[in-house]
């Protein structure tokens, strides 16, 4: 019978541990990327509270909030997918992971609608656009809004791709009950994408 672990690992358990540790370290490097952006946001906000207030009162709060719900539900379906794989129910896991990816697509569609609405109003990064003629204080907020939500959206897109790829591998029995940790790794990344939005949402849309 073919070994499920690579030759240079003593066992599947050791391989899974190495993969998990590597993923956590990767997630921390992602966290540090966003750390720089959150620091920029916090410092800019402390420096220019009026401009931020002006920008935030015009943000698409309802669409942003719907997107929060979509991502939170997607994290739940992702966790259910992992659990299904642990219970050796690959078909259920496949559909749950695919549902998670679909919710990612819904998130991106709403985000594009939100961007389209703002661009229509004349709100562009860097304080460009007609809207800023009557709202001269808000360019910094909107530049950070586009930068941070844009980088986050790229992460959602990458996460969706990984989820679909993993779902296909589950369907093709390339990921099985014994190697279910491979699904865990992709879902860990998806949870990080959710975690970042959990903080972006109140800071850019609510308070």
């Amino acid at each position: 019978m073919r070994e499920l672990h690579a030759d240079h690992f003593e066992s599947l358990e050791v391989q899974a541990h190495a993969a998990r540790l590597g993923t956590w370290i990767f997630l921390c490097s992602e966290l540090l990327l966003f750390a720089g952006l959150f620091t920029l946001l916090a410092a800019s906000r402390a420096h220019d509270p009026r401009g931020f207030h002006e920008g935030m009162t015009h943000a698409a709060r309802t669409l942003g909030s719907i997107n929060t719900g979509v991502l939170l539900v997607s994290s739940t379906t992702a966790a259910l997918g992992v659990q299904a794989m642990r219970e050796n129910r690959p078909s259920r896991a496949f559909w749950l992971v695919l549902t998670t990816a679909t919710l990612g697509l819904v998130f991106l569609a709403i985000k594009i609608a939100e961007y389209a609405e703002h661009i229509d109003e004349g709100i562009l990064p860097g304080g460009h656009g007609a809207w800023f003629a009557s709202h001269a204080d808000a360019p910094l907020y909107w530049t950070l809004y586009y930068l941070m939500t844009g980088i986050h959206a790229i992460h959602v897109f990458v996460g969706m791709g990984l989820l679909v790829w993993t779902a296909v591998r589950v369907r093709a029995r390339l990921i099985v009950h014994e190697t279910s940790y491979k699904l865990d790794l992709v879902v860990l990344y998806w949870h990080l994408v959710d975690l970042i939005w959990i903080f972006l949402w109140p800071l850019l849309y609510l308070a």
Binding site: R20, L21, C28, A35, T76, I198, W201
Partner: protein, 101 residues
């Protein structure tokens, strides 16, 4: 409670906390608005990290990696905001240099 039911319960709790944040954003909380919103976000993040990412079940090396990331993020945030908040007003330009600006 089965693991799947527990996951669904956590999902419901997350959406409920998000709904609370959204509702509070329509209430005038003044200076407390931001700390309250962040506090709720920290609560949601805690649920995701503990129950969905299963950090508490991970080995010590993974926990150490995650805590290091959070610690570095906190140091960066606190020092950067403290710097901006405590800066003195910039001095006025000397008269003989004013024409350069």
């Amino acid at each position: 409670m089965t693991p799947s039911r527990k996951i669904v319960a956590i999902g419901i709790a997350l959406v409920a906390l998000a709904a609370l944040s959204f509702t509070l954003s329509h209430v005038s909380l003044g200076v407390a608005a931001l700390p309250v919103a962040i506090l709720i976000a920290v609560g949601k993040a805690g649920l995701v990290v503990h129950f969905f990412m299963e950090l508490s079940d991970a080995r010590a090396s993974a926990i150490l990696a995650f805590i290091s990331g959070i610690l570095l993020l906190a140091i960066l945030l606190v020092l950067a905001v403290a710097d901006v908040e405590t800066r003195a007003a910039p001095p006025l330009l000397p008269a003989n240099h004013a024409h350069l600006s």
